[in-house]
Symmetry: C3
């Protein structure tokens, strides 16, 4: 059951090194703290190697790239790899610009990420090296639906096999797959798309979960996706008249803060294909 | 009526490229999402041209300048101009330092902004190339009041005429003017000044409004100013004992999230001079 | 009584130049506004000298260092020193990496800070030039407790004497000391550690307090520490079922916004040793 993965995060309190965009970095930090993990941010090339060495995992998010930041990602990634730290790549906006696509592809080629997480546009971009992402959101033509689910599950497995990683594809239906198994997850609320950074928060959360559950990373990644979705549902149920996306943002983090393994077990909605 | 401009934002969901300061960038993103628009942030010179090309508008805010960021602004601005994208300049702190003043002046000289938005100290600085801004807030000696309103309205129109743009001057009374007409707006609450970034949020909101209403940019800019002010009023009315500026921040964004055209029509308080 | 120091912040509204990390910068800005002070952020080397010259104090936080940012810190620090502005150093993560430790040491050597504030791991690192900080949080082995309080009070006084500054050491028990006197402060809630940036907010708050009370900086620094702790207590008492660290973050800032001198006098729990 997925709740155990959550409890392991509470018990192990992994420290996650985040190299992430400046738009949502504060929410990423508070989300990690809410989950029972801890954040440390550093992207400066001369700082990242040591910082990563005192952490358990490395979360790389390309939301607002700088040249120095990319250098930092590569140095930190190399160190994390040598240390065997679980690493997550969040290729925000891959497909939206050549620089983002190329950076994500380069990172994926030169480092081994345990989990690559993106929306379908981003993951498709990584799968074929080009894309037509609409900004940082998935193209409308490109969503996982009940109709194309079989195809998408196979796509996820193929991607995971080719890249020897776990892939998480977020959308109305979320997928978390390795080469052989795919969690099809139906938690979450569409209104989460009105809060900036829920995707980034999820990326960091996945990293905390796989760090605390290194032997069952697929289950752990799926648990993180379910936890985020359940948090979105709980948070929405607490919304009052006049509340909007800013309050929703806070309530989602609050819901992760209060989530127990038992709650996750009860509310997670997924099947394995 | 101004409500129509708001509804056009809901319907068109413009994607706004923001090159903005790292202090308030998260709130800017959530404010755009609250309004029905979408944000994408990128300031890296090698990324900005393509990013701007997939957007509808470009918001430039000089709140925390870096050399590379300024280069990014110029490249993005050039691309946006070629594409005919509505552009807003938010000269945060112009007058507070030579570097800010010079950067704002240079941007204004080399690019054509559809709207320039600032407090009176910032706009006066741009009008005469120097200033005495107190930090990022307007000098006390320099506010738009009922007493000097005629002079200020004329100042706004003259600035708009000289720069062939719309100017928005924020303060206790807000002005939105082109060369011929000036909206004098009396929405908002003074407590909004206790929330960091309400000005930045307004700048981005104006950008969303003019993108969704390209043929009536003055009315659209005025509608955005009214919407922000009305949001401040609604948010304040929802404050409870013990709430302060952090809660107020959230409630302002929430109020924009829930605002309808009818509400804006009902609550907007303005005259045209 | 400490409440007077708070009221002086309300009356003087000091403008604080902050060179701080991008993770918690927004909360730092809102915390300063909540306290009655005002923030301005700038780290660009060519901007910082003039910005600092229009401010009352300079807050330097090394949470996310960049090479240019460090240059900015030195230039701003030199200018602030010439102008006699109260300066606070927040050596976030000193001990966690050589670069952070070295930068903090260098800043401490080349500039005179009126207050140096950190957790015990960070301050010990500065005291002996090395450390074993766990990320940005204090090592478990290294906390101020009732058992080691005498030793820690003496350590704080010795550090303050050696560095000719006030030192603030945060933890379960907070210490604020100069060479002769040490405030031992027992306000606050351990749950504040689940909110990113409460330490950064405190650093900036101390700066506002010492700027508004330049002749009694030790008392003012202690008052800021008490105010932050009391805010954490008030905020916690307002938490409802389902609330978590995101809501707590907002309520802490709200509590500072609403705090009066009388409330601080009533709730501050400290002794002087």
């Amino acid at each position: 059951m997925l709740g155990e993965y959550l409890e392991n995060v509470h018990q192990n309190s992994p420290l996650i090194h985040c190299i992430t965009n400046y738009v949502t970095v504060n929410d990423v930090a508070n989300m990690l703290l809410a989950s029972g993990a801890s954040p440390i941010m550093s992207s400066e090339p001369r700082d990242v190697e040591e910082i990563t060495s005192i952490c358990s995992g490395l979360y790389i998010n390309i939301g607002t790239l700088t040249k120095r930041g990319v250098r930092g990602m590569n140095i930190a990634g190399g160190a994390a790899e040598r240390l065997g730290h679980p690493m997550v790549l969040d290729p925000v906006g891959a497909g939206a610009s050549t620089y983002r696509t190329k950076t994500a592809m380069d990172l994926m080629e030169s480092l081994h990420f345990h989990v690559i997480k993106g929306n379908i546009s981003e993951i498709k971009t990584l799968a074929d090296g080009s894309g037509s992402t609409r900004g940082v959101d998935a193209s409308a033509a490109d969503v996982v639906t009940e109709d194309n689910l079989d195809v998408m599950v196979q796509f996820a497995k193929d991607f995971a096999k080719a890249r020897e990683c776990i892939v998480v594809i977020t959308g109305k239906i979320d997928l978390a797959a390795d080469a052989e198994r795919c969690f099809v997850i139906r938690n979450g609320k569409k209104e989460m798309g009105k809060v900036t950074g829920t995707g980034c928060q999820l990326g960091a959360l996945i990293n905390a979960y796989i760090c605390a559950n290194p032997r069952e990373m697929l289950g752990a990644a799926a648990a993180a996706v379910c936890a985020m979705g359940v948090a979105g549902e709980i948070a929405w149920s607490r919304m009052e008249d006049g509340d909007g996306n800013a309050t929703y943002r806070n309530r989602i983090i609050d819901a992760v803060y209060n989530m127990t393994g038992a709650m996750l077990n009860k509310c997670a909605r997924y099947e394995i294909r």
